[in-house]
C-alpha cells in the first residue's frame, strides 16, 4: 500500500499527463459521423506510428559492434515508417474520395 502510494507520489506528473491525454482522446472523437469511422481509424493508425521515434532512438544509441541490435533497429525503423507513411497516405486517399464533387 505504502509502496503504491509513494509510486504514485513519485509519478504524479505522469498520472495527470496520462489521465488528461485520455480525456482529450475521448473528447476529441465524440460524435463522429459513421461515414468518417474508417478514415478516422486509419488516421489514428498513422498517429500511433509515432512509435518510430522509439526505433530511431534505438538506432541512435546502439553500441558499436552490436549488429544484432542494429539489424533489429533497422527493421523497426522500416516498419515504423511503413506505419506512418502508409497510414497518412491511405487516409488522405480515402478522404480525397469523400470530398470529391462535394
Amino acid at each position: 500500500m505504502n509502496e503504491i502510494l509513494s509510486f504514485f507520489g513519485d509519478n504524479k506528473e505522469t498520472f495527470y499527463f496520462v489521465i488528461l491525454s485520455i480525456f482529450v482522446g475521448i473528447e476529441v472523437i465524440g460524435g463522429v459521423p459513421t461515414v468518417l469511422h474508417t478514415p478516422l481509424m486509419s488516421g489514428a493508425n498513422a498517429i500511433h506510428g509515432v512509435v518510430i521515434i522509439g526505433a530511431i532512438h534505438v538506432m541512435l544509441n546502439v553500441e558499436e559492434g552490436n549488429y544484432f541490435a542494429l539489424a533489429l533497429g533497422f527493421l523497426a525503423v522500416v516498419l515504423g515508417t511503413l506505419n506512418v507513411v502508409g497510414g497518412f497516405v491511405v487516409t488522405d486517399r480515402m478522404l480525397e474520395m469523400f470530398k470529391k464533387k462535394k
Binding site: 465524440g30 461515414v35 489514428a44 498517429i47 512509435v51 521515434i53 522509439g54 511503413l82 502508409g86
Partner: protein, 481 residues
C-alpha cells in the same frame, strides 16, 4: 539547447496530433486534419534525428535514412496503388507494422538492459535496489514487457485480420470452446510477462513470451468473422497506441506518450461507437455471435412465394418511372459494380428519371464503404442520401433497386424482436411502390438471417451477379431509346 529544441518539436507534434484527430472527426476538415498530423509527425521525426545530442556516425545516419527511405517508398507506393475497396486490408497491415515496431524496440531494449545488468557487479545491483533504483528498474521492465506483449498481439492479430479481409482466410476458424481457450491463453501470456518483470527473466524467456503473444494474437482474431474485421482493426489500432505509449514511458518520451495514449483512448472509443452503430455490444463481436454468416442461415419458416423479374420488364419499368432510389450494399462492392450503377444512373437521368442513392451507415463491410465506393465511380456526392433523410421519401418512390444489400433493408429489424438485428435502424424500402432486389441467390447476408422483404407482394427478385445483371440492364435500356 538542442535537447530543449527537441522537446519543443515534440510539444508541437503532440498538439498537431490532438488538433489533427479533432479535425478528422468532421467531414469538412478531415483531410486537412490528417495533413496536420502528418506535418507534426515529420517535425518530430526530423527533430529526433537532427537534434540528437552527441555525434552520430555516418553509418548510423545512413542506416536510419536508408530505413526511412525504404519504408517511405514501400508505404507510399502501396498506399497509392491499392484499390479503394482494399483500404481496410491496408490499414490493418500498416497497423500490424506499428505493433511489430513496438515489439522490436522492446526486444532490443530488453537485451540492452540485461546486458547492462550483467556487467554490473552484484553489489552494485543491491545498492541500486536499496536506493529505490529497483522500483525504477521494475518500471522500465514493465514498460518493456507490456510494450512487447501488446505490440506483438497487435502485430499478429492484424496479419490475421489482413488475411481475412483479403479473402485468403474467409471463414471464422473456431476451435471447440475457443472462448475458454483464448481467455486461458491470454491470462497465461500476461502471467508469464509478469513473471519476467518480477524475476528479470532471460533472453530465452523473452523470446518465448514473444512467441506466446504471437499465438495469442492469432487465436484472438481467427474466430471472428471477416465482416467484423473493421471493428477488430479499430481495437488492434488502440492496442498499438497503447504499445507506443509504453515506449513513451520507457524513454520518458512525451510525444510517444501523447500520441500513443491519444490513439489508445480515441481508438477504444471509436471501437465502441462502431459497435453501437451496428447495434451490437463489443463482446458480441469478439466472442462472435454471428459474423460468419454460415451457421444460422434460413432458420425462419417463410410463408409466401417470391416473384422474379426479367431484364426486359425491369428496363421498361425503370424507364417509365419518375423516381428511382438505388440501395447499394455489400454485394455491389464484391461485384465491383459501382461503375455500372453510375452508368445506369446517368442513363436514367437522361431519360428524365430522378435517381438517388440511399446510403445506410453500415451498408457494406466498413463504415462509409458505400460513400467511398460510389465516390470512386464519380457519383455526385449530392445524390448520396443518408438513411434518415431518405426514409421519408420512399413513399413517393416508384422503384427501389436494391443491389447486393440484404440486412440493411430487412424489415425484421423493426418487426421481429427475436431477430439478431432487431433494433438496427434500416432503410424502409418496403414503403416504395416497386421493390427490385438484385442478388445472386436466396442466400442470407452478413447477419445470416432470412429476409421477409423478398416475399413482399411489391417485391421482385432480379437474380444475378450485380455487375453482370446491371450491365445487361443498361444494355437493354440503351436499346429502348
Amino acid at each position: 539547447m538542442k535537447h530543449n529544441l527537441l522537446e519543443i518539436c515534440y510539444l508541437i507534434g503532440s498538439i498537431t496530433f490532438i488538433i489533427g484527430l479533432k479535425m478528422m472527426g468532421n467531414a469538412k476538415t478531415a483531410r486537412k486534419g490528417n495533413l496536420i498530423g502528418a506535418a507534426g509527425m515529420t517535425i518530430a521525426i526530423l527533430g529526433t534525428i537532427f537534434l540528437h545530442e552527441g555525434c552520430i556516425s555516418a553509418t548510423i545516419f545512413g542506416l536510419i535514412f536508408g530505413a526511412i527511405g525504404l519504408g517511405t517508398a514501400i508505404g507510399w507506393m502501396t498506399a497509392k496503388k491499392v484499390q479503394m475497396t482494399k483500404m481496410p486490408e491496408l490499414v490493418s497491415m500498416f497497423n500490424g507494422m506499428g505493433g511489430a515496431c513496438a515489439a522490436l524496440i522492446s526486444l532490443i531494449e530488453y537485451n540492452h538492459l540485461r546486458h547492462a545488468a550483467e556487467e554490473l557487479p552484484p553489489f552494485a545491483l543491491a545498492a541500486m535496489a536499496m536506493m529505490g533504483g529497483a522500483s525504477m528498474m521494475y518500471g522500465t521492465m514493465l514498460a518493456i514487457i507490456a510494450g512487447l506483449i501488446i505490440g506483438t498481439i497487435s502485430f499478429s492479430g492484424s496479419i490475421i485480420a489482413y488475411l481475412k479481409l483479403n479473402g485468403t482466410m474467409n471463414q471464422p476458424i473456431r476451435l471447440p470452446k475457443y472462448n475458454v481457450i483464448n481467455t486461458l491463453v491470454m491470462i497465461g501470456v500476461f502471467t508469464f510477462g509478469g513473471y519476467i518483470v518480477v524475476t528479470g527473466g532471460s533472453s530465452m524467456l523473452v523470446y518465448l513470451l514473444f512467441a506466446a503473444a504471437i499465438v495469442y494474437g492469432v487465436l484472438f482474431t481467427i474466430p471472428i468473422g471477416g465482416a467484423d474485421m473493421p471493428v477488430v482493426i479499430s481495437l488492434l489500432n488502440s492496442f498499438t497506441g497503447l504499445a507506443a505509449a509504453f515506449g513513451g514511458f520507457l524513454y520518458s518520451n512525451k510525444i510517444m506518450l501523447t500520441g500513443g495514449i491519444l490513439v489508445g483512448s480515441a481508438g477504444t472509443l471509436l471501437t465502441l461507437i462502431m459497435c453501437k452503430a451496428m447495434n451490437r455490444p463489443l463482446s458480441n463481436v469478439i466472442f462472435g455471435a454471428f459474423g460468419g454468416g454460415s451457421a444460422t442461415a434460413g432458420t425462419t419458416d417463410i410463408k409466401g412465394s417470391i416473384k422474379d423479374i426479367q431484364v426486359a420488364d425491369l428496363a421498361v419499368l425503370m424507364n417509365y418511372s419518375k423516381r428511382v432510389v438505388i440501395v447499394p450494399g455489400y454485394g455491389l462492392a464484391v461485384a465491383q459494380a459501382q461503375h455500372v450503377i453510375h452508368e445506369l444512373e446517368l442513363l436514367l437521368e437522361e431519360r428524365g428519371v430522378e435517381v438517388k442513392y440511399a446510403i445506410h451507415p453500415v451498408a457494406g463491410r466498413m463504415p462509409g464503404h458505400m460513400n467511398v465506393l460510389l465516390a470512386e465511380a464519380n457519383v455526385d456526392y449530392g445524390k448520396l442520401i443518408e438513411m434518415d433523410d431518405i426514409n421519408p421519401e420512399f413513399e413517393q418512390t416508384d422503384v427501389v433497386l436494391v443491389v447486393g444489400a440484404n440486412d440493411v433493408v430487412n424489415p425484421a429489424a423493426k418487426s421481429d424482436p427475436a431477430s439478431p438485428i432487431f433494433g438496427m435502424p434500416i432503410l424502409e424500402v418496403d414503403k416504395a411502390k416497386n421493390i427490385i432486389i438484385n442478388k445472386r441467390s436466396m442466400n442470407a447476408g452478413y447477419a445470416g438471417i432470412d429476409n421477409l422483404l423478398f416475399y413482399d407482394p411489391k417485391a421482385s427478385m432480379f437474380f444475378g451477379d450485380a455487375k453482370k445483371a446491371l450491365t445487361e440492364l443498361v444494355a437493354e435500356l440503351k436499346t429502348m431509346e
